[in-house]
C-alpha cells in the first residue's frame, strides 16, 4: 500500500500507520464500530439472533444503493433500511428465526429480492461496480469526515442504551416468560434491541461490508461466550475482541497488499477456532486439557 514496511518499533509503526488522514479516519471509525458491534454482538449470540443480523445487513444493501442514487450519504440509506427492517421483524415477533421453516423460507425470498433491488439501484446510478464492491466487502479506507461523525453519534448512543437496558435485555433473552411476569416489557425490549442491532449493522457495513459482517457482529460475541459465562465479563470481552480484530486487521492491511476485510475476518475466525477447538474434541482427548 505504501513504500515503507513495519519496523517492529511499535511507536514508529503507529506513527507510520497514522500519518495519512484516511488512516486516521479508518482507525477512528473502526474503533467506534468495533465498540458497538462487539457490545451488540454479545447479545446477538446470547439471544441466538445471528441470522437476523445477517438478514439486516442484506436489507441494508439496497438502502446504501438508494443513498448513492439519491445523492445523500449511503450510510443514511443503510440506517433507514436497516431500522425499518428491524422494526418490521420486531413487530412480527421472534418467530423470524432460522428455526422456523415457513418464516425462514419467506425471509430467504425477501433477502434475494433485497440484493436484487440493490443491484438495480447501483445500475441506475452509473453502473458503478466499485460502489457495489465497497458495500459488499467494506470500504473502511475511504471513510469521509462526516461519516466518522455520524458513526461516533450512533456508536455512543447505541452503547449507552445497551448498557442502560442491559439487565432487562439479558433477562428477556434467557428467560422471557419469567421476565414478563416480573414486569419486563419483553416485546418492547426485543424491538429496542433490534433497532440497536440495525444501527450497529449499518455502521459495521462501512468497515467489513454486507458479506463479511459476521466477523465483527457475531464472531467476537461467540468467542466471548465460549470463554466466560459471566454476563458482565462476556460483554466487555466481546468488545475487546472486536477492537483487537479491527486494529490488527487495519495494521496488517496497511503494511501488506491485502484487503482489510480479509484480515478482520481471518482474525475473527482464527480466534473462534482456537477458543472452540478444545471443547469440540472427543471426551477422551479433552481429559488431557482438563
Amino acid at each position: 500500500m505504501v513504500g515503507q514496511g513495519p519496523s517492529w518499533d511499535v511507536v514508529a509503526d503507529i506513527q507510520l500507520l497514522l500519518q495519512f488522514h484516511f488512516m486516521q479516519n479508518a482507525f477512528l471509525a473502526g474503533t467506534l464500530v468495533a465498540l458497538l458491534a462487539g457490545a451488540t454482538g454479545y447479545f446477538v449470540v446470547l439471544r441466538g439472533q445471528s441470522f437476523v443480523a445477517h438478514m439486516l445487513s442484506q436489507v441494508g444493501f439496497p438502502g446504501a444503493a438508494a443513498g448513492v442514487l439519491l445523492h445523500v450519504s449511503p450510510v443514511l440509506g443503510l440506517i433507514t433500511f436497516c431500522v425499518a427492517a428491524a422494526v418490521g421483524i420486531g413487530w412480527l415477533g421472534r418467530d423470524v428465526e432460522a428455526g422456523n421453516r415457513a418464516e425462514s423460507a419467506a425471509v430467504g425470498s425477501i433477502l434475494a429480492f433485497s440484493l436484487g433491488l440493490g443491484l438495480l439501484f447501483f445500475r441506475l446510478y452509473a453502473g458503478s461496480a466499485q460502489g457495489i464492491y465497497a458495500f459488499l466487502f467494506g470500504s473502511i479506507l475511504g471513510i469521509a469526515d462526516r461519516d466518522v461523525l455520524l458513526t461516533f453519534a450512533i456508536a455512543a448512543a447505541g452503547l449507552a442504551v445497551l448498557v442502560w437496558m442491559g439487565r432487562p435485555l439479558v433477562f428477556a433473552s434467557v428467560d422471557p416468560d419469567v421476565a414478563a411476569a416480573r414486569g419486563v416489557p419483553v416485546r418492547l425490549v426485543s424491538i429496542g434491541f433490534l433497532v440497536i442491532l440495525a444501527l450497529a449493522v449499518a455502521i459495521t457495513v462501512q468497515i467489513v461490508g454486507t458479506l463479511l459482517i459476521f466477523a465483527l457482529l457475531v464472531a467476537p460475541g461467540a468467542s466471548a461466550l465460549q470463554l466466560t459465562a459471566r454476563p458482565g465479563l462476556g460483554f466487555v470481552l466481546s468488545i475487546v475482541l472486536a477492537l483487537a480484530f479491527t486494529w490488527v486487521g487495519l495494521a496488517l492491511a496497511y503494511f501488506s497488499d491485502f484487503p482489510v476485510g480479509f484480515f478482520v475476518t481471518s482474525l475473527a475466525f482464527g480466534a473462534y477456532v482456537v477458543i472452540r477447538a478444545p471443547k469440540t474434541l472427543p471426551v477422551r482427548t479433552r481429559a488431557v486439557y482438563a
Partner: protein, 264 residues
C-alpha cells in the same frame, strides 16, 4: 391476615373461547396447593391470570389482598418449559440474580447486599455446588433448584410452579417435591403447583384444585383423590390405589386429553 389468594366469580376468555368461568377460590397463606386437571383444561392459564399475564374477562382476583400486577415481588413464578438450551452460557448465580434486579433499568453496579441475598437463596435450595456453572450444562433437577431460588429471591411469599416435576426422573421428582414442601413449611411460603402427574406430590399437599370442563373446584386431597371423583373430572377411567404403607397412587388407563383445544 388476608388470604394468599381469593378469586371471586372469575372467568377467562382466550380468542373468544371461555377457558373456565364462575371460579370462586380461596387459598390461605402457607398452604401447599396442587392444581390438577386434564391437558388443555386451563391450568397454566389459571397461573397466568393470577400473575396478571392473562386478563380476567369477568370477576376479580386478589393476591395477598391486592389486585394482581406484573412484577409483584410477593410472587415467584416458574413457567412450564422444556430444559434450557444446553448452549446457554450464563451462570446459575446470574440467573438467580435476574430474579432480584433483572427488571431494573440503568447501569448495573456491584452490590454486596444483593450478592449475599443471592448466595443465601442458592444455599436454601442446595445449589451452591454448581452456582458458577453455565445453566445449560446443569441437569434438569439442578436447573429446577436454581429456578426455585430465582423465584424466591425477591422475597416472594407465594410460589407459582407450572409443571416443575415434568421431565425429571423419579428421584429428582421426590427431591424437588420435598424441597418445595420444606420451603412451604419453614418459610411460610404459599405454593401453587400445577401437576400433570399427582403421585410425586401427593404426600406433601394440603389441598387440591381441579381444573376441568370449564370449572375450577377445590377440596381436601382425601375427598378429591378418589376413583369416582377423578374418573368424573377427567372424563376417563382413573383408579386410586392404596399401597401397603398407606399411600395413595393414581393410575390412569390412558393419557387424559380434554376436548377443550385450548392449551395454555
Amino acid at each position: 391476615m388476608p388470604s394468599a389468594l381469593k378469586l371471586d366469580r372469575a372467568a377467562v376468555r382466550i380468542g373468544g373461547g371461555l377457558v373456565w368461568s364462575d371460579v370462586d377460590l380461596e387459598v390461605e397463606q402457607g398452604e401447599f396447593v396442587a392444581i390438577l386437571g386434564p391437558n388443555g383444561a386451563g391450568k397454566s392459564t389459571l397461573l397466568k391470570a393470577l400473575l396478571g399475564l392473562v386478563p380476567l374477562s369477568h370477576g376479580s382476583v386478589l393476591v395477598f389482598g391486592h389486585p394482581v400486577r406484573r412484577g409483584n415481588d410477593d410472587v415467584g413464578y416458574l413457567p412450564q418449559r422444556r430444559r434450557f438450551d444446553p448452549d446457554l452460557r450464563i451462570r446459575a448465580t446470574d440467573l438467580v440474580r435476574l430474579g432480584l434486579d433483572g427488571g431494573r433499568w440503568g447501569v448495573p453496579l456491584p452490590s454486596a447486599a444483593k450478592r449475599r441475598r443471592v448466595a443465601q437463596m442458592i444455599e436454601l435450595v442446595g445449589a451452591t455446588g454448581y452456582q458458577d456453572r453455565a445453566i445449560g450444562e446443569l441437569s434438569g433437577g439442578e436447573q429446577q433448584r436454581v429456578l426455585i431460588a430465582q423465584a424466591l429471591v425477591s422475597g416472594a411469599r407465594m410460589l407459582m410452579l407450572d409443571e416443575p416435576l415434568e421431565s425429571l426422573d423419579l428421584s429428582n421428582q421426590q427431591a424437588i417435591s420435598e424441597l418445595i414442601r420444606g420451603i412451604c413449611e419453614r418459610q411460610g411460603v404459599t405454593v401453587l403447583l400445577v401437576a400433570h402427574d399427582v403421585n410425586p406430590i401427593l404426600p406433601f399437599i394440603d389441598r387440591v384444585v381441579y381444573v376441568a370442563g370449564g370449572h375450577v373446584l377445590s377440596g381436601q386431597p382425601r375427598d378429591v383423590i378418589r376413583t369416582e371423583t377423578l374418573t368424573r373430572l377427567y372424563g376417563a377411567p382413573v383408579e386410586v390405589l392404596h399401597t401397603g404403607d398407606g399411600r395413595l397412587v393414581v393410575v390412569g388407563q390412558y393419557e387424559p386429553v380434554s376436548h377443550h383445544a385450548i392449551d395454555h
